[in-house]
Symmetry: C2
Subunit: 323 residues, 2 copies
């Protein structure tokens, strides 16, 4: 076991809510079309914030809730596919904003598996050489959405969430994990192509900020592979599916989650879903869900939980955590 | 100690060489101006490759040199500030290209400290839960260079390099590290600002791919802070500066390296410099240098080496490694 405790969790979403009905005012879509297919009623969209602003708010909340000072942090890792810049990274902006003078900081790029991948990395850092750090998933996906493309525009939202993790001698932390990447299927979900151009060869490829998705392939991928990584992680931990109290899955689509629960032979009640309120917030989604469930008391100390992410890369990953 | 061995190293640069003299044909500059100030004579620039192509070539070389098959890899981490896309990440493209079916993959964003930061993360993964992985630094910086701006265009080059790391029971690996981030100084070196724009609020900020650098501030930062992280890492390892056989520093500028060697009270001969041939290749530079020095026999088993990165973020980091 890699021993750590989740000291605190926090989430932040922009105030501005865009409902399906509002989308229908400028796009050939409707709540009657979107909701049955995705489970989404609304999403949050930034007014004037960028990803580093949302991530900084989460960091400040984590410090305020925990009573830990910025100077006590050893690291800040941000999972994001929508950074403000290629340098500095979002985590480095957060580190500067909160004056975490003893923390190093970097971003991890693994799209919708970002939260699971970052927690795995933070867990290894706490098990080997550091005491305490922030793990944040933060996204402003509204800047990667083509708002003329009704096949993707209805799916995504902005938000950020994170946890403050601390090394502990208690028997809690990461029991096992399974992380997988399927780069041969990367074309099924892409975003943020960066222009490749220089003086000598001219423009090799044009910039294309937007999401491009083969929805059917991603659906098939997720419903097939998430049970695989969950099973593999449970096997490594010598645990059964029944022994998990709550499954926190990346909130891409309510139908994907229902299908995974069914294939996995577990009651849907053990798979909480909040995608109705946020849409798909990529690396932020599991953190938002975790924080809501901790506030509601649905997730609490003493439980054994599973986190599972999946999406762009393509990637998937599952963590089994003893709280 | 986090025990691992560097099984192999490899580096790849694009064939196309751009000399200072060629730059002078379309820019108000000259070799006489550039070389004394930077130590750079030439850089490599892609013909039609992107970052994932260079990184894939490095991965294939590492496999060919080591005789290890792609299936035997547990992870692929790429340090880059010039990814092809925001998703998939470069590491995920490499994973798909080489068919590393058992490896998970993600990118780390820490600019010129990318190589040092990725090795630190890989080291923690090998110490806790995995057997073998690739760590690659890969950059196509020519796409982030404003070729009209002579203050930055002369500095950067394209390239990639990496190492195959394996867990070991031998007394070799990471002795100590010091990683630091200085986000409050992030404005001194920025690149790749991503457009923030959505239907509801319009354009919040415009895309700006280009490097912007306050050269004097970055110079002062590097010459001040690299000795700090080196000293801190040596202190943690209970070692003196004299006990290090070779110092492999990020190759940004020969004058920075000379100044650091002087401040650190170590002979310049222990700080090899190859920036003349490549320019600043960001996350790739230390790996290119390491591979060249291993081929030349200057770096070999039994030595104790120090790696130090510094740059965008701002970030710095030092690793003390027993070979």
């Amino acid at each position: 076991m890699e021993q750590f405790t989740i000291v605190e969790s926090a989430h932040v979403v922009p105030q501005r809510v865009v409902t399906n009905d509002e989308l229908a005012t400028f796009m050939d879509t409707s709540d009657d079309w979107i909701y049955p297919r995705t489970g989404i009623h609304q999403r949050h969209v930034v007014n004037d914030e960028n990803t580093s602003d949302l991530a900084t708010s989460v960091a400040n909340e984590l410090l305020a809730k925990s009573g830990i000072t910025a100077d006590q942090l050893d690291f800040i890792i941000v999972g994001t596919m929508s950074p403000d810049n290629l340098t500095p990274s979002v985590a480095q902006q957060v580190q500067g904003n909160i004056k975490a003078n003893n923390a190093f900081a970097w971003d991890l790029s693994a799209a919708c598996s970002g939260f699971v991948y970052t927690i795995s990395m933070a867990s290894a850092l706490l098990a080997t050489k550091y005491q305490r750090g922030l793990v944040i998933g933060a996204e402003v996906l509204s800047k990667l959405v083509d708002w003329q493309d009704r096949s993707t525009a209805v799916l995504f939202g902005d938000g950020a969430a994170g946890v403050l993790l601390e090394k502990t001698s208690a028997q809690v932390g990461l029991l096992a994990e399974s992380l997988k990447t399927y780069g041969e299927q990367s074309e099924f979900l892409t975003a943020g192509h960066q222009r490749n151009s220089n003086y000598f060869t001219g423009e090799l490829s044009q910039a294309d900020p937007y999401f491009h998705m083969n929805g059917r392939e991603v659906y098939n991928f997720a419903t097939r592979q998430v049970p695989v990584v969950l099973s593999e992680a449970l096997d490594k931990a010598n645990l059964t599916a029944d022994s998990i109290d709550v499954y926190l899955l990346h909130q891409a689509n309510a139908r994907i989650i229902a299908s995974i629960a069914k294939r996995f032979g577990q009651p849907i009640e053990k798979f909480p879903i909040n995608v109705a309120n946020y849409g798909n917030t990529s690396a932020a989604s599991i953190g938002i869900l975790l924080d809501e469930l901790r506030i509601e008391g649905v997730v609490h100390d003493g439980q054994r939980i599973a986190l599972a992410g999946f999406g762009g890369g393509l990637t998937a990953g599952a963590l089994i955590i003893q709280l």
